[in-house]
Symmetry: C2
Subunit: 522 residues, 2 copies
Amino acid sequence: MSAFEDAKARWAKIADLAAALSVLHWDQATYLPRRAFAARGRQLAALTETLHAHRTDPALGQLMERCGRELHGVDSESDEARMLCVAQRDFERARRVPAEFAARLAAHQSVGYVGWARAREADDFASIVPVLERTLEFSREYASFHPGFSHVADPLIDHADPGMTVARIEPLFAELRAFLVPLLRRIAERPKPDRSMLQDAFDAGAQIAFARRIVESMGYDFERGRMDLTPHPFMVRLAGDDVRITTRIGEDDLSDSLFSAIHEAGHALYELGIAPHFDRSPLGAGVSAGVHESQSRLWENLVCRSRPFWEHHLPQLQRSFPQLRRVDAESFYRAINCVEPSLIRTESDEVTYNLHVIIRFELELQMLTGELAVRDLAEAWNERYRSDLGIEPKGDSDGVLQDVHWYSDLIGGQFQCYALGNILSAQLFAAANAARSEIAEELAAGQFGSLRGWLLDNVHRYGRKLEADTLIERATGAPLRLDAYRAYLQRKFCDLYALDVGSPASTDATSVARTDLGSAFQ
Amino acid sequence: MSAFEDAKARWAKIADLAAALSVLHWDQATYLPRRAFAARGRQLAALTETLHAHRTDPALGQLMERCGRELHGVDSESDEARMLCVAQRDFERARRVPAEFAARLAAHQSVGYVGWARAREADDFASIVPVLERTLEFSREYASFHPGFSHVADPLIDHADPGMTVARIEPLFAELRAFLVPLLRRIAERPKPDRSMLQDAFDAGAQIAFARRIVESMGYDFERGRMDLTPHPFMVRLAGDDVRITTRIGEDDLSDSLFSAIHEAGHALYELGIAPHFDRSPLGAGVSAGVHESQSRLWENLVCRSRPFWEHHLPQLQRSFPQLRRVDAESFYRAINCVEPSLIRTESDEVTYNLHVIIRFELELQMLTGELAVRDLAEAWNERYRSDLGIEPKGDSDGVLQDVHWYSDLIGGQFQCYALGNILSAQLFAAANAARSEIAEELAAGQFGSLRGWLLDNVHRYGRKLEADTLIERATGAPLRLDAYRAYLQRKFCDLYALDVGSPASTDATSVARTDLGSAFQ
């Protein structure tokens, strides 16, 4: 099969150059000197252009056509057939984007990133508006390269979550919202748990050391990765044996850094678990942003915000932070699961989190369709927080500038994955527990082997071999659906807030006007 | 001048891709996870191959020919003419090296680096012999691409120090040796200063903080660079505004980390001082390894191992390390300038340092000509240390495995720059002091502005615009020669060891047999 071997060598080279590009991104987000951002932008642009040329080389297209003939009759579910199929889709998608566009975009994104960091520090959205207006133009231009979609956001969504569309997401989010809003309203009427123990002076070094121990116990391998500090935590695969996580430290808040490290380690376990023979092939990556997010959220919420987890781990935490020595596990569990509308998505609780996501998703659509001008974005953002969550950002850095996505990437397709991931995290966790009854017992003993094993066997090892929809269907016996997530949230939060589980939690979506919520939390 | 503008854009892209490659190297030497070295090797190979293709693109060659016609009649010392001249030389040199060789070499170097790190840890030269034998083959193959030199090492030397040859270096090193050996012999007869204050427990964090303060006061700009830890310190230019240094910490030795940080900062000031409009052009780099080393050694030795420097800075050091509070400046100055044959080049004193270099230079030549087999290198190394310095490595990690050069690069041209740099450091420092009389006074007050300004005006800003020989001649009024360096060492060490300056220090080279030295230091 010589054409296929040639194609594999080309895919491997593309993967290696893409990894080099990711090293530059990682460095930019962790260690780049303050005045080096402009230079880094040019370097990223040069490498992006080169990578794009390799990805869209007509010779690669011809080679893959020959591969298609070579593989004629081969099982369409074989590794080879799937590699070729995924590679051809990538090729087609890349080919539609002109090289000069890719280079211009890379340079723009680097400017955007540094502009965002400055604007955020200065709490000044207005300063970044011209950059973001260009980003919106880039986003529409990107969409225009992929005709045949029914909504301008669809190509952008498809890029992150292949197979997803506005038409699939909007009803799902409506259903989600219809269930969350009444739950949130009922919780708001109950007494709030005490969170004060989490807001104290916590030594940064001790926080890092504790986070390292936890992610290591989850199975994250520091010989195949590392953990560094960054303003906006992320995970990046630089190779099958080099999957790095990042976190940030709030010296007056324990939960932010801990749960962000766990979250990123959840992503990393996915990448580290992909079958080694998929490394440097088109299959050597997570299948979609939503499935990726299901892995981070599963570990962050279903495992590490659970009661058994802290019954086991609180004593270790107390050894690192003696000021917590009088706290009992139940109080700690209640504190880290306190539901309260807040301004920052990444710090928000499990019930309100999806509302943050839905706001962003809808604002993205409005900008792309032209209903909302970029210059009005901060005001629209604040208005949505007032109406949907009943609170208002103090400034832009707590509001529209909090997430890096729009400022370092495109507008569109950036946020749906977070809610999809939440939904999937519960669906997968339920399937894992149904398949392996020992998981619950192990979790209570601070052990994660069976859970990790099930995830490895049913999700991680496949990489991009199975499409996301197929993966979910095979792993859980059902397509993506809300049931498990709704049941999980209901069970957990009705218990925490002493609510009657049986009471109506799925109000018709249309009956929940946005303004309904405002008063509940003021 | 459209061909020239086109060429500039191509040079800029080459510079950007080369910078990306350097980011991968920097990351490999500082933060790469233990099990990621094989993957990094493949990434370096892929990017090297891509870079090589850009550097040797026949279209670039044709474009530069058109530039030559465009620039006909333009002053040959103009920026444009020099850019083209240097770029054409680079092109010709790169074109001679086949792309597949460059890729194979990059992959091999990465294997070599990780093999070296392991062999050094295990103190086991034998384990790396097969790798080093391949390196020697690579080195000879590299030399064979550049016919017309009179010695097999010449193309390798020329790559680092353009214009230098074995024929120029051998007599210079003989003269150097002839002067150092009697000086060393006389020093050996004198009482040794007390060095014990430098060997104590010094907090790593305090060492890093102090080193940061010193390099910052030298003028190193942390907004345009950073300092990280690595086993083998180096400086790397990632962009005109991103020039990074590295250091290592010995918790039981104060001088190693401090002087290595200063050394690398000396290199960095050179790169940071290159005229900004040379950035991303063929002129945007230091002109030769020897001139580069002159900058690091000037700051390390002539400035920071001087009496006035410590008269000013010792109180600051004492605030960082209270155990030094009873030490006076004169004793400290004597301690950091203690002359004593030792095993590690980078920790050796100014008098013996060049002997370390000469050993390596000669062993390189012997390997390249086939006089010495790689498998016999450790023994030959140890034999030379016995005969030349009167001491013997305890193991390979103190001996032949101490320097990374041969294991991560080629054999040949790796070490002459260190002795050339020493010689030039004194020649340049003397010229600077002659030109600006305020330098000495400023140094005594802990100020470096006038010295840095002279270096900027006479060395740094030129980048590769002037050839090394021209640069030296214009900056110092004379070609490279030993006089200033000999005078400097004589003045400094005759004072330190209470020797008569007038006594014969330049014995005829041939009269100093290698074995003469052995007895003097046993």
